[in-house]
């Protein structure tokens, strides 16, 4: 226990208007250690990381690097101290290329300041191959899938950590599929061997228990405990995080009516989706899984009028619908929780109240056009307590909520609309264990009440536990379909990851 800490936090305190986000938090990190940081949504994990990055200043406490007290006032200080960061939401430049993003701030330049393009592209390709990413380094990052962007963010930090000794990851796997997760863990292992110390924040507790040496639990801004990971069970960890146990969801096999509510036939989207045909019945949950690039999100977007169909028909409640924009499907009672909450989900400048009820604006308006604020507040407050959103008040701007709490609001706004068909793309991204169970329960309840759900997720557990039928997508096609009980979880994982076995 006498190896010197590379990083030590002593009594870190951070207040925001109306709450204490961090209360006297101690934390230490050894060289070559992977230290997990877990806690419910809003527990203060990202706040701690932002303090290390110099984005936020603590009101109290001390940061020591190699035993020396340090004051970090901006991200450049943090970098100079040898820290590299992967943030919860990708902080990439959407208008720049993949290569430029990977090397942002340290572009390959000649002595005269000209870019060494070919050299840079080569370096980028080497880096991309570490996560087996098949993206073109000249592609604009804005055109990438969310998981790809997250992988780029990881690679940028990792390549940075050639010089960095501390790598800090805030939910790096939240939108990755099995394949990238596996590669990320391999990267992490090799960094560990080189002596890089890693702080690892995640809501995937199995992951955390597997790869971490020690685990620190935060609750309501306080450090509850720090454990050796080996000596810890998942159940105990959950009890410490949440304050009580959380049982696994049980699929009750909700009654599925014969009535088909959504029928898709021979849907094609140029280069992305090929010959997709399926149906969804009333009260049914259909889970869709597949690797990165399989076309899951693209399918959701095509159904919601956000991608142009080349051919194919979509019938909703038995009626053919010419889907051209989200409005065309919303009118028919379809809702869509998008994968990327920052760019497609939240209205950062609006309050929690307004974000939750934004889908209901018209319905809440009186004949004079005035919004019934009291009803609005009531609805929002119900949704917020239903989903366990942690906010200072309903009037707090959503941008000040923690990532997981923002996600709950994004989900809530569609639940409020009482859609008959819900398309959910990674609905529990960044949501903690306890709240996840809550959301599963809500989904099971509304499905039992007749709502049909198309559930897209990179989390096999989620798909397996909730779905009445499961589709495996690969290369823009639905390659396999299973009814509930036809596959085991391990078989399903095998089908998803060994996608080559799907090529026939």
């Amino acid at each position: 226990m006498h190896t010197a800490n590379v990083l030590e936090l002593i009594g870190i305190t951070k207040r925001f208007p109306g709450l204490v986000a961090l209360d006297q938090v101690d934390f230490s990190l050894l060289p070559g250690e992977i230290h997990g940081l877990v806690g419910e949504n809003g527990a203060g994990k990202s706040t701690l990381i932002k303090i290390l990055n110099g984005v936020l200043r603590p009101e109290g406490g001390e940061i020591r690097i190699d035993g020396q007290p340090q004051i970090i006032t901006n991200p450049r200080d943090a970098a100079a101290l040898g820290m590299a960061f992967i943030h919860q939401e990708p902080t990439l430049f959407p208008n720049l290329s993949v290569a430029e993003n990977l090397f942002a701030g340290r572009l390959h330049k000649s002595r005269w300041g000209f870019l060494r393009n070919s050299e840079q592209l080569r370096a980028a390709r080497t880096l991309l191959s570490k996560m087996e990413l098949s993206v073109d380094p000249t592609e604009r990052v804005g055109n990438l899938r969310l998981a790809e962007a997250q992988a780029i963010e990881i690679l940028r930090a990792v390549s940075d950590s050639a010089s960095a000794r501390i790598l800090i990851m805030d939910e790096p796997t939240s939108s990755l599929t099995e394949n990238e997760k596996r590669l990320l863990f391999r990267l992490i292992a090799s960094l560990k061997k080189e002596g890089v110390a890693i702080i690892y924040v995640s809501h995937f507790l199995d992951e955390v228990l597997n790869i971490c040496d020690r685990i620190t639990v935060l609750k309501d801004g306080k450090r509850v405990n720090t454990h050796t990971a080996k000596a810890l069970s998942k159940a105990d960890l959950i009890i410490e995080m949440v304050g009580h146990g959380v049982e696994s969801p049980k699929h009750m096999g909700s009654p599925v009516a014969d009535e088909v509510v959504l029928a898709v036939s021979s849907l094609n989207v140029k280069n992305l989706l090929h010959d997709i045909s399926f149906y969804l019945r009333r009260g049914e949950i259909v889970g869709i899984c597949g690797l990165l690039g399989a076309g899951k999100t693209e399918l959701a977007k095509a159904l919601f009028g956000l991608l142009r169909r080349e051919s194919g028909t979509i019938a909703i409640h038995g009626k053919p619908v010419d889907v051209r924009s989200p409005r065309d499907v919303i009118k028919e009672g379809v809702g869509f929780v998008t994968e990327s909450r920052l760019t497609e989900g939240i209205f950062a400048n609006l309050s929690v109240r307004e974000n939750t009820t934004i889908t209901l604006l018209k319905r809440l308006s009186s004949r004079l056009g005035l919004i019934a604020t009291r009803t609005q507040r009531q609805l929002a407050s119900n949704a917020v307590s239903d989903l366990g959103v942690r906010a200072a008040s309903l009037e707090q701007l959503i941008m000040y909520l923690s990532g997981g709490n923002q996600q709950k609001v994004v989900l809530g706004k569609w639940l409020l609309l009482n859609s008959t068909i819900l398309i959910l793309d990674e609905p529990t991204r960044g949501i903690d264990v306890g709240a996840k169970r809550e959301i599963y329960r809500i989904l099971q309840r509304i499905s039992a009440e007749g709502t049909s759900i198309l559930l897209i997720s990179s989390e096999i557990d989620e798909i397996f536990d909730l779905s009445d039928r499961i589709f495996v997508m690969y290369d823009g096609r639905i390659k396999k379909q299973f009814a509930r009980g036809e596959v085991t979880k391990n078989q399903l994982i095998a089908y998803v990851t060994e996608s080559t076995s799907l090529e026939t």
């Binding site: 109306g18 989200p326 760019t343 604006l361 119900n382």
Partner: protein, 338 residues
């Protein structure tokens, strides 16, 4: 969704911030005040300095005078606030005002009654707004370019129409729009106040108003929740052009003529007022009351420089500096309160 508290922790530990954790600082209370508060202080501070500089400043007559002078700019600024909240910009307001007011003035001269004259002006506003809005949404030409082109086109039309001659000899009823009073309150002031009140309610309490904030804040997300983004955008340009036309009518009524150069450079004053008022150039943030204060600050500068007999050459210089200082102070205040 029915309110359903499924488990205990939903009810007691996860709803709002736990009461024991709430910290009340004096600064917290300050932060609760509306954003416009800081601006108001700047405005008042400004007024104090001015009243020291010129004894005439603090008289009722001067106040009424200032408000009347700034009424048409103030009305145009309301429209600009709508546009900027939606994430756009409208450079064509000055030309729109000139074209609509010039045409309306000639009709008034021909004896068309006020109602007709107003309809003509607003009709021109609607057409210009629709053209702007459709070009921006359907043809996807950026607002800056579209409205810059419109600035030129509308000005050109006005010059062709009027042969670059100031229209004089208006009908009495148009004159009275700028000069008469009801119950002792000048009509321009009544109009100004009503338009701000209506705009404030429409922006904060109606579905349309909130949709503007949504579109300006995150257009993509707005589209996904089914907000008719194009319709919202077209509407704000129509509102802007209509209010520009209306502001033109009031100005013409006040001046008793429609000079060809009217509205030249107005867009800059108006944008400045809106930005001083705290509405974000990026959209999605701000409101009309801030704009009103911004207009007042600009109006005060001009008024004081007049009262102090400062050469008009200096007006621009001083105005530029004040805009910069006001916005800089305000930005810093806001940043600190995050």
């Amino acid at each position: 969704m029915k309110p359903e508290i499924t488990t205990q922790h939903t009810a007691d530990s996860r709803g709002e911030a736990p009461p024991g954790k709430t910290v009340w600082h004096a600064t917290h209370v300050l932060r609760k005040l509306p954003d416009e508060f800081g601006l108001l202080i700047i405005l008042i501070g400004f007024g104090v300095v001015l009243s020291i500089l010129s004894p005439y400043f603090l008289t009722l007559g001067n106040f009424v005078n200032v408000i009347i002078t700034m009424s048409s700019t103030g009305i145009v600024a309301v429209g600009m606030t709508y546009v900027m909240l939606s994430g756009g910009i409208d450079l064509s307001v000055g030309s729109t005002m000139a074209l609509a007011a010039t045409v309306a003035a000639t009709f008034s001269k021909e004896g068309v009654p006020l109602a007709g004259v107003i309809l003509i002006a607003l009709g021109i506003g609607i057409v210009i707004g629709l053209v702007n809005g459709i070009a921006i949404t359907k043809l996807r030409v950026p607002p800056l370019i579209t409205t810059l082109a419109m600035l030129s086109v509308a000005r050109g039309l006005q010059l062709i129409y009027s042969r670059a001659v100031t229209v004089t000899g208006l009908g009495d009823d148009l004159d009275s729009l700028g000069r008469a009073s009801i119950l002792g309150i000048p009509i321009p002031i009544i109009l100004l106040v009503s338009i701000y009140a209506i705009a404030s309610i429409s922006l904060s309490r109606t579905a349309f108003g909130r949709s503007i904030y949504a579109v300006g804040g995150n257009e993509r997300a707005a589209e996904i929740v089914g907000i008719q983004v194009n319709q919202v955008k077209i509407s704000v340009y129509v509102i802007s052009a209509v209010l520009a036309a209306f502001g033109g009518l009031i100005l013409v009524g006040r001046l008793g003529s429609a000079p060809t150069i009217m509205g030249t450079g107005l867009e800059l004053d108006v944008i400045a007022a809106v930005v001083i008022g705290g509405t974000s150039l990026a959209g999605g943030k701000g409101g009309v009351w801030g704009t009103l204060i911004g207009v007042a600050i600009l109006g005060l500068i001009q008024n004081t420089l007049n009262l102090l007999n400062v050469s008009p050459y200096y007006t621009q210089l001083v105005q530029g500096i004040v805009i910069f200082v006001a916005v800089a102070i305000d930005m810093n205040r806001r940043r600190k309160s995050v």
